[in-house]
Symmetry: C2
Subunit: 336 residues, 2 copies
Amino acid sequence: MVKIKDIAEKCEVSIATVSKALNRSHEISEKTTQHVIRVANELGYIANSNARSLKTNRSYNLGLLYVDKSESGLEHEYFSVILNSIKKEAESLGYDVTFISNKIGNSRNSYLSHSRYRGCDGVILVSANFKDPEVINLVESDMPTITIDHLYNNRTAILSDNTKGLGEIVNYLYNQGHRKIAFIHGEDTTVTKERLASFHHACQQLNLEIPEEYIKEALYHLPKYSGLATRELLELENRPTVIIFPDDYSYMGGLTEIEKHSLKIPEDISVVGYDGIYLSRILRPILTTYVQDSEAIGKMAALKLIQMINKPKTFIAEQIVINGHLQEGQTVKKIR
Amino acid sequence: MVKIKDIAEKCEVSIATVSKALNRSHEISEKTTQHVIRVANELGYIANSNARSLKTNRSYNLGLLYVDKSESGLEHEYFSVILNSIKKEAESLGYDVTFISNKIGNSRNSYLSHSRYRGCDGVILVSANFKDPEVINLVESDMPTITIDHLYNNRTAILSDNTKGLGEIVNYLYNQGHRKIAFIHGEDTTVTKERLASFHHACQQLNLEIPEEYIKEALYHLPKYSGLATRELLELENRPTVIIFPDDYSYMGGLTEIEKHSLKIPEDISVVGYDGIYLSRILRPILTTYVQDSEAIGKMAALKLIQMINKPKTFIAEQIVINGHLQEGQTVKKIR
DNA sequence: TTGTAAGCGTTATCAG
DNA sequence: CTGATAACGCTTACAA
């Protein structure tokens, strides 16, 4: 590999001059700079990020903490899109992206250690177990971090607008004539809490009495559990006219159950999803769902993290809410 | 950050001894080794991968080249699963994974340069434009590489079994009584060539005459183009009884078109997908498709690349074919 | 404007 | 079995 020293020899200048020229330092004359750059190109010089990082303590590398609780990996489109959007934005700002695990080489280690080991300038937490002490440890360290869809005290987070989302859904359903609205929510997380609160708030505003049996817990992204919850709802004496699912994927579990009961969507029962993944649009009937702008979420996460890295002193923790919108599909029946 | 020197001082040994002890060198006595390790833990020592890599020329970091031609990113499940499987296997073998772009910092650069800049030990090419000179340049360099679903001369590749796949599909359709089999294939790639050859071969074996108008080109993962091709097929005088799609996603484009023609699947027309993504199982009717073992593909890619890295001399380029299987869904009608 | 030299945190060689 | 020391490739005071 050709290095700075080789260029220096060829140009008959010192390595310091080469380094400065390559970094476009104004200490160096325009002429020398151009010459050095030309020779560097001729020789096919490529910098060594390890040497550079060692010296500067900056890696221009972002860590990505992505732990899928369902152990099924990147396969959930919502997160996949976020991940890719992070990658795209980071690249366009001159940063690379490395996955962070809780191992270093072959031995177990904390996420924080791993991030430090790789010299990450910052870390984005996309889907993690936010209650894991190790994760908390990372967030509370001096390592710049951004969380997506989870809010830690006094830390920067990118949040999808769960409050607005559930509110819009409930109001839409009400306007379509629905009064018996069931809500299957995901496991207990910040996101879920917010959605539940918003659901109840919206119902209250509309003077809707929702029986407790209409509220069911399932797990995000796992159709099976939403299927079970759906069955319970369908077998209720006083069956709801519409079911809100935790997410579009989970709806598929409900769908199977609804079919088993020989019910037609939306004639016999209406359904609403959440996320607005590609799937929701290609399903038939097209799913009525709340579309999260996951593209924007990922982009904003990368952008804010890099801002934080660049101005650690003046950066103020903020909670950024990314708006979504209701996708009116074909799965909600207009009543009366 | 605590470093080797701090440990050395506390233990009253030299930094060389600490380094060796930490690396479990047998030059160092068991007693010293244990002591050093204990103190290292007490102090919360974390190695610095930059310094280490600089010295050893090994990063334990794999580059991942993933360029989605549809510009839509990680959102295709087939690739998402592969990516995650690579990440999992790499981690379990003590490697990290970094995305490789064609930029370094803010200036354009080649994939190869980027890989070198980050000191990657090797690179996996998941979804790339395999005809791009820059990509070819990377593969032909001394950087260990593995390609997925594309075969370069004399290089290691992980391939899904396209030959077996198309053969099985055709034979299955034949057994179900189908004689008028249409095939919408993807853009011209190694994979497509193989599938087309296999399709024709299987038909020939069965003495099936397939009219040329039954073979259509579309683009992988883009429902729109398969939709157009489907329309052409449906409007044919002599309409096929079954259509094979390039992939499960693309089928969705065909589905829309079939619905526009008020045709029922599989009563009026049968369809077959390819990939076997999650979607294929949750669709109704369940899609008959050829399931690729993407989990195994990703895992094998990481494994082989690491083997290549470890034994560059004895490693022999090989083409590894990962078997899939036919998923009998509900979209193929039994004829007669 | 350019050069000298120290040093970032490791590993590896060689001597003791 | 342990230690001194050079070296990896680069940046950056500071000197010239």
